[in-house]
């Protein structure tokens, strides 16, 4: 045993700094959920603040605003998950049909780009483009349509959130499918050619069945995001006009907690989100590993 430790002590040492940082910045905040069960006063600290049990949780589930916020989060997130699962998959099928490599690579370069820009930049760009007299509305008017209040009407705001999120991320999402598609055995296509199959037949009978398992794993894992409607995006695009339908848990927690100082209520709402997220992520990983043999380790 002593010999063994002499050989492996550097391995523990290598892990030490990371472990310490995770304890301080991840595990201690996890214990901070206690704040949600207290009437937290910053000057009393977490240990001395009075314990109030489920008070804040009861308040949350009876408060129309909090319930609306949870509902908004769910609706926005679920649409992002569904549309965000379909678009990259469909787009890779079309991109996979391209034989000219230079063209394919150019398209890829262009569609990956928005993924690397943050929502501060994109929010700034989109609020300008989607303004009532912005470029998009000028275009709509040019086509003889009515102007749309993209960022001022609740339903349109949700639509804008989902569309712009998919716009930002779909290109990046195609990477994994294209990688899987290049891995398909070419002899399958050659055999199909001999049988007289056209591109459409080949896509339906070879490409799609080969990629479906990966698509299912990705879709399953993304269910863990069901209460992640995207703080950065919403925060940089919303305004009081659309709070009713566009305010989400994370923006609510930030406003109520850090701006208004209701630490306990905000923590309770955040804790609710973390617990739901945990259950979903744990379940989906379990499913993915059981049925698709997916492992992170």
């Amino acid at each position: 045993m002593k010999m063994y430790f002499r050989k492996t002590w550097p391995l523990h040492l290598f892990l030490l700094p990371s472990v310490l940082l995770l304890i301080v910045f991840n595990y201690i905040p996890m214990a901070g959920f206690l704040i949600g069960f207290e009437d937290f006063k910053p000057w009393l600290g977490i240990l001395k603040s009075p314990f109030v049990g489920l008070k804040h949780f009861k308040f949350m589930f009876n408060d129309p605003t909090a319930i609306q916020v949870i509902w908004n989060t769910f609706i926005i997130a679920i649409f992002k998950i569904i549309v965000g699962a379909i678009v990259p998959f469909a787009f890779s099928l079309f991109l996979n049909e391209v034989r000219a490599m230079l063209f394919k690579r150019t398209i890829q370069s262009l569609i990956y780009l928005p993924h690397f820009l943050n929502w501060v930049i994109l929010g700034g760009i989109l609020t300008d483009l989607l303004a009532t007299n912005g470029l998009i509305n000028q275009l709509l008017e040019g086509l003889g349509l009515n102007r749309i209040f993209f960022l001022g009407s609740g339903d349109w705001f949700r639509f804008t959130l989902v569309t712009s999120d998919v716009w930002k991320e779909f290109g990046f999402g195609t990477i994994i499918y294209l990688a899987a598609m290049t891995g398909i055995n070419q002899s399958l296509y050659e055999a199909a050619d001999i049988d007289g199959a056209n591109n459409f037949n080949k896509a339906i009978h070879i490409t799609i069945p080969a990629v479906i398992p990966i698509a299912i794993v990705i879709a399953t894992l993304s269910l863990g995001n069901i209460l992640n409607a995207g703080f950065d995006q919403v925060y940089n695009m919303y305004n009081p006009l659309v709070y009713q339908k566009g305010d989400i848990i994370d923006t609510y927690v930030y406003r109520v907690g850090l701006l208004q100082g209701s630490f306990s209520l905000a923590t309770a709402v955040g804790f609710f989100k973390s617990v739901i997220g945990f259950v979903l992520i744990a379940t989906t990983y379990k499913l993915a590993s059981k049925y698709a043999n997916y492992r992170i380790f």
Partner: protein, 292 residues
């Protein structure tokens, strides 16, 4: 047969057209911003600019780049990106090396693995994290932007998977020559995995450059905020005094083109590293996810 070929060719044309349109839609907004930033006051305030500058002028860029606050924020961003990436990558390499060892050799690996992965599954949430950073005395310190995000478990997992693909023989041969773990890591694993390190470093750099929220909540002095946070504040509620401009400076310059110029300058570093990013990230993305 001829008919089939014809329809096939039609499909190819239509497909190319469709893909081109979608791809152009991905960058059109950026082109519009660039055009607005280079246009005159009149053209921008009356929303005349589409995709090409009208009344071309560099004014907005001149004003933005001469703003002291802008340059200070730029410097903070550079600092956090450089140090944040260095620290994060060092921790990633060290942790991934240990984690890549076999369970039978490195007992405790499973415990460490769960300890790391659990942080991906459960989050303490905004308020407790904020209070920890505050209690740790990191408010207004560059460390507040670096330490809480220094350990990226996802990167550790990717790196670990890469290390596991390195042939055992290399390590064993070095061990016979008397090399310890330090030597094995720095003289064998490090050089072999340079492409992976480059990939993850680029991702980490982009992450740091783009982060703005931590700067907003942890920094409350104007000279401490990074560029992304600075831009966020400017875009959200435009106030030219923030970048040290007088109302008289805006005679020939519209708010809109100044904003657009700032957005474009904020994007520029990403655009500059983008070719390198692109070279590596496809490999990086599929490094850990598609396994045989």
């Amino acid at each position: 047969m001829l008919k089939l070929k014809f329809s096939n060719r039609m499909f190819q044309y239509a497909n190319h057209l469709f893909l081109s349109i979608v791809a152009i839609l991905c960058i059109l907004p950026m082109i519009h911003v660039l055009a607005v930033s280079l246009s005159s006051n009149y053209a921008t305030t009356s929303f005349l600019v589409k995709l090409w500058p009208i009344g071309f002028t560099w004014d907005a860029y001149e004003k933005a780049l001469n703003s002291n606050n802008f340059l200070v924020a730029f410097k903070v961003s550079i600092l956090r990106t450089v140090f944040g990436t260095l620290i994060s990558m060092t921790l990633t390499m060290l942790a991934a090396y240990s984690m890549s060892k076999d369970n039978r050799y490195f007992r405790g690996r499973t415990v460490y693995a769960w300890f790391f992965v659990f942080t991906m599954l459960f989050h303490g949430g905004l308020i407790p994290t904020y209070l920890v950073v505050q209690k740790a005395g990191l408010m207004n310190s560059l460390w507040a932007l670096i330490l809480p995000v220094a350990v990226n478990v996802f990167n550790v997992v990717l790196m670990m998977n890469f290390f596991r693909g390195i042939p055992k023989e290399l390590e064993e041969a070095a061990a016979i020559d008397g090399a310890g773990h330090f030597r094995v890591l720095f003289t064998i694993f490090f050089p072999i995995s340079l492409p992976s390190i480059a990939t993850l470093s680029l991702f980490t750099m982009v992450f740091h450059w783009n982060s703005w929220f931590d700067g907003m909540i942890y920094m409350n002095q104007a000279n401490k905020i990074p560029l992304a946070t600075f831009l966020q504040a400017l875009i959200a509620g435009f106030d030219y005094t923030q970048i040290g401009l007088n109302p008289s400076d805006l005679e020939n310059l519209s708010e809109r083109s100044l904003k657009s110029a700032l957005i474009f300058i904020g994007t520029l570093p990403i655009l500059l590293v983008y070719p390198f990013l692109q070279k590596y990230f496809v490999k990086g993305m599929t490094l850990g996810s598609v396994k045989e």
